[in-house]
Symmetry: C2
Subunit: 211 residues, 2 copies
Amino acid sequence: MESAKFKKGRAVLDTSLFVNPDVRASFGENPTAALENFLFLAAQVPVFEFYMPPSIFSELQNFVEPGKITGELLVYLHQKPPRKFELTVPAVFIYELVEEIRDRVNKGLRIAERAARNPEGKPTDEVVQELRRKYREALREGIIDSKEDVDLVLLARELDALLVTADQGLIKWAEKLGVKWLIPERFKDYMLGLIKRSRDLEAYEAEEDRY
Amino acid sequence: MESAKFKKGRAVLDTSLFVNPDVRASFGENPTAALENFLFLAAQVPVFEFYMPPSIFSELQNFVEPGKITGELLVYLHQKPPRKFELTVPAVFIYELVEEIRDRVNKGLRIAERAARNPEGKPTDEVVQELRRKYREALREGIIDSKEDVDLVLLARELDALLVTADQGLIKWAEKLGVKWLIPERFKDYMLGLIKRSRDLEAYEAEEDRY
């Protein structure tokens, strides 16, 4: 049987867990309720630590009722930036990032040209709306495109933590860097599993003490 | 006085040295002549090695007369790719790259929107021409945007070599990574300086042998 003294597990959480309505459903009906519910569960998992980069935490604060960020939450949800000047990444990622962006930049130009030509003679406002949507889709989706994204994936790498995110760009990079990941929809179940495991271990230790 | 047995110097060369008309002027009136002149000088500098990533060499071949890539040239101008799966870069570069690209992508969208609105009522073809020029300027210039660029800067880093390039995006990255760089306009002078130094060292060694 596995030793009771196992290494503490760690997870790095993206905001989507609390903010995205589809994702947070299992935790609560609004971001504040989801955060309170998370805290209730986190307090029952002494074998696990939860982290969030400060940049992500600051995003989260825009969605939560003021005054609901309690001292207790700050204890259970550690705010830690990655050691960005010490961590390194294999150079091959620079190639992948540069190539992927190059493809997207070319695609962005084709979308822009089509909008400028407006072959179907649509009203200008409609053309501009469509341009914005398609351009953002082509250049941003499924790619690491902000320092908050980089914070998440690097922190998970540094801590050897489970990255909990719904962002496809982040998942792609997590895969490349050997970072464990889990979609937020499964995270409440995961926490319930951790709680059960903690109790089993306690019971096992109590059992051992008896003999 | 410095020991005659100093470490061999190395340089990594970009195509601009031979291809860009303003830059190659000191070497020759066309790419083929510039390459031949370079070879003539390189053969006189036993204390220095010249490198080019294969991706860049392959670009160069588009500009040089077929049959002018001699075996001698291949001996003096080493083709070597960087060890991209072994080299690492500080994670902070990922932040810088991602942030820079984000700014440029936003700028690209503003340029595209302006083209789609065409407030001055210019002819469509003119609008599209201008869009292409401005978009490429905003998204490509002064940034590392191809695997050839990454090859150059990483190879220079790996070999602790002097990077000879006119590309502002490459120079910016060379500065960040502690890579020596030189603008191609100064490179012929630099080679002449190397030749003089080699001769001085030979004379010094001959002098020492006499006593």
